[in-house]
């Protein structure tokens, strides 16, 4: 069905005559001028996104229109769709026209935005063979069109900020802010603050990146603390110090002003207080991990405990399980306990009594950017360190029958 809208029909002619001759006619949810020209916003269906459909035009005139790629202006003269309020001289909405018998359709290059107002202007006199103001239908028809607006009630919230533990290292490099639904493109720099014990905002704690560090569904944003301040011995660090100081407590605050994908504010602010502890400047060392193998014949979780928190994002893809001697990852589900120091793996199929490998990829980092075998801040690498980093290391474990 067609969507409701209002319209006016304006005969072509001297401007002074227009106002007096405005004849609004609404019929069947479409705008119909006295000449029989009707404009309809056809909602999206299985075939196409929402498009503008004009009926009542001269089929001969439509057939006589030139190739639209060669002469798009000829088509735009007949049907011009604009964002409402677009000033004269600005472009019309780009799209393609299609003729279906006596109907002319405009399909926008990009779907119309829900809730946005568009204007359609139809000039039957611009069709080939029609003379301006003649009986071929000289009335210009204007229609205001819009798709229903999305719900405006705020609904999206911050579900968690990683690291999720109560203590953060002084040299924390990276935060993830996770949301309950998709967000807009806007970054977090204007909406996230770190407050000290007295409620004072830490000045410039984050790297002012304007590249887009959202995950693919826009539910997780990465904030880097300014590495120039985190790294010791370089100028920003010496001038401003680290943004977080060991021994103090800070509150991370996410304001509701951060717009979600529908442009709505968040439903609630997010606040969490953490203690900051000494810097972690040691490489990630898988040999220090504790593996708790499950029993054969079960789908119990393999549990791996780390001495300190690791990066939540990387734990989901840089640690895996393989059957010893097999190259494929064992299919299963990864779960990470709050605090990011316990990693669990539940296989899709029961464990068998055999040897397995826990595979750790070199990209794994802790929240301070220390990687497997390589801390974040290092002296110039010597000749030994010039070799490419091994892509992966393995920790062997055995699954045995239940005792």
């Amino acid at each position: 069905m067609a969507l409701p809208f209002r319209s006016i029909a304006v005969p072509a002619g001297p401007r002074a005559a227009l106002v007096a001759l405005i004849v609004p006619i609404l019929a069947m949810g479409c705008a119909r001028a006295a000449t029989g020209v009707a404009v309809t916003l056809v909602p999206a269906d299985a075939d196409a996104p929402a498009r503008v459909r004009v009926t009542g035009l001269s089929p001969d005139g439509l057939r006589a229109l030139p190739d639209q790629a060669a002469d798009p202006a000829a088509w735009e003269a007949v049907l011009r769709v604009t964002v409402a309020g677009t000033p004269d001289g600005q472009p019309a909405v780009a799209g393609r026209y299609a003729v279906d018998g006596a109907a002319l359709e405009f399909r926008p290059a990009f779907p119309f935005d829900p809730g946005r107002a568009y204007d359609a202007r139809v000039d039957p006199a611009a069709l080939p063979g029609a003379s301006a103001g003649a009986s071929a239908g000289g009335a210009i028809v204007r229609a205001a069109l819009s798709l229903p607006a999305p719900a405006a009630t705020p609904a999206t919230t911050v579900t968690r900020v990683y690291p999720s533990g109560d203590e953060w290292p002084e040299n924390l490099l990276r935060l993830y802010v996770e949301f309950s639904g998709p967000m807009s493109r806007a970054g977090g720099f204007d909406h996230v603050r770190l407050l000290d014990e007295d409620g004072r905002a830490v000045v410039d704690p984050f790297l002012p990146l304007d590249v887009d560090l959202w995950n693919s569904d826009y539910t997780r944003f990465t904030l880097f603390l300014d590495p120039g301040r985190v790294k010791t011995g370089i100028l920003p660090n010496e001038q401003m110090g680290r943004p977080l100081q060991a021994g103090r407590t800070y509150t991370i605050e996410v304001a509701t002003s951060w717009p979600d994908a529908l442009g709505r504010p968040l439903a609630a602010p997010y606040r969490r207080t953490v203690r900051v502890v000494a810097a972690d400047d040691q490489p990630v060392t898988p040999a220090d991990w504790r593996i708790e193998p499950p029993a054969a014949g079960t789908r119990d979780a393999l549990v791996v405990r780390f001495p300190a928190a690791l990066d939540h994002g990387l734990l989901q893809r840089a640690v895996a399980v393989e059957r010893a001697g097999a190259a494929d990852r064992l299919p299963g589900t990864i779960a990470i306990d709050p605090g990011e120091a316990v990693w669990r793996f539940i296989p899709d199929a029961p464990w068998t009594a055999s040897a397995y490998d826990l595979v750790v990829y070199a990209i794994l980092e802790d929240p301070s950017g220390n990687r497997v075998g390589r801390k974040f801040e290092v002296d110039r690498f010597d000749e030994v360190d010039r070799a490419p980093t091994p892509e992966r290391t393995t920790l062997a474990f055995r699954v045995s029958p239940p005792a």
């Binding site: 290059a109 990009f110 493109r185 990465t222 920003p236 979600d260 840089a318």
Partner: protein, 372 residues
């Protein structure tokens, strides 16, 4: 984006007021790829999950990065050429783009700008909309100041995928490709991800070939004496330093680092030589090389420290910065360009002009500016 400076003719910088056409139509046949059995087959109508940054080869192949798909598409724009060479500036270009794409300027992101090295038309990559439903658009501005939407469904292209780090299941990782540049038959790509902070530089030969996924190197900038640090490269240009093909790379906060291309071997860790510190809490946006008065210059647009001009002859024999820089800046000299303000994108237009996207108050303007 940047291309190596090339000869430029007198360009169509004079024309009527900005007008708009709906869609550039480009009907092309797959380009012949010779007899190379490993040649990547070309197709028509690339689909983008996201678009930008952009880079041109000297022949006019447009490389357009799709970070969501972790791919780069090489577009043949021959058939999409405008009859009006050059680029005429458009004030309030974001408003015009929004009108053409049927949305509001606040729902657009212009992700990059690149000038076609032969036609001198300017191409803009744009994300329309917000969140995961945002869509990609490529637009062109010609010498008549006409803004056009490039009909991607008619463009011939080849594609190559970025190498995935191990064990990627694609759920969370985003590769933000920060810059690309073509040099001597290879496309160089710099980027960072939201999960792995260390900087990678990747290169692949063009024409793209099957079985060649490119080479990846880990790069560091050495500075301040004892430290080497990993940090994302934001912008780089290929040039020659000390007689060797090199990349000059700008990092956040803002060391300028030189890497000899010959050192960039697969799997290697390469430490660059820091030749300048251009000031903290800033990052380079774009770099271009140009010649003026018989000398070559590097022009750098920065986020908070404006536009800077460096004479590249000072890079030859420049010492590495090996001691803490106690002043705001250090290393090879640079000259601020105070006449260029609010620059958000920059590329070389011709021998005497650069084209910039610059913000003045609320207005985002595309302008041709005389090279300083």
């Amino acid at each position: 984006m940047r291309t190596a400076p090339a000869l430029a003719a007198v360009l169509g910088l004079v024309a009527a007021a900005a007008t708009a056409t709906a869609i550039v139509s480009a009907r092309t046949e797959p380009a012949p790829r010779g007899l190379d059995p490993l040649a990547v087959p070309s197709h028509v109508g690339p689909t983008f999950q996201s678009i930008g940054p952009l880079a041109f080869s000297p022949e006019g192949v447009l490389y357009a990065a799709d970070k969501q798909a972790a791919a780069i598409h090489a577009l043949d724009l021959t058939a999409a050429a405008s009859p009006a060479p050059g680029t005429k500036g458009i004030d309030g270009i974001d408003q015009q783009i929004a009108a053409m794409l049927g949305t509001a300027a606040s729902d657009l992101a212009i992700t990059d700008l690149a000038v076609h090295p032969k036609t001198r038309n300017t191409y803009l990559s744009v994300m329309r909309g917000q969140g995961p439903s945002a869509q990609s658009a490529l637009l062109r501005v010609d010498g008549a100041g006409t803004l056009s939407l490039v009909a991607l469904d008619a463009v011939t292209f080849t594609s190559v995928s970025l190498p995935n780090p191990p064990a990627v299941d694609g759920r969370n990782r985003t590769s933000a490709i920060t810059d690309m540049a073509y040099m001597n038959g290879r496309l160089f790509v710099a980027g960072l991800s939201n999960e792995e902070f260390s900087s990678k530089l990747w290169s692949v030969p063009y024409p793209f070939r099957q079985m060649d996924t490119g080479t990846s190197v880990e790069i560091f900038h050495g500075n301040h004496g004892r430290l080497e640090t990993n940090s994302p490269v934001y912008s780089f240009v290929p040039t020659t330093v000390d007689g060797k093909p090199s990349l000059i790379a700008g990092y956040t906060c803002t060391p300028l680092v030189r890497f000899p291309v010959d050192d960039l071997r697969p799997g290697a860790k390469v430490m660059g030589k820091t030749i300048a510190e251009l000031g903290n809490r800033s990052r380079p946006i774009d770099m271009i090389l140009y010649r003026k008065d018989g000398r070559e210059f590097l022009l750098i647009a920065n986020t908070t420290r404006g536009v800077m001009k460096l004479d590249t002859s000072t890079f030859d024999g420049a010492g590495a910065i090996t001691a803490p820089v106690t002043a705001e800046t250090g290393g090879v000299p640079f000259e601020p360009v105070p006449s260029m303000t609010g620059v958000e994108q920059l590329d070389l237009l011709d021998a005497t002009h650069t084209v910039v996207l610059s913000r003045t108050g609320a207005a985002l303007n595309l302008q041709a500016v005389i090279l300083p």
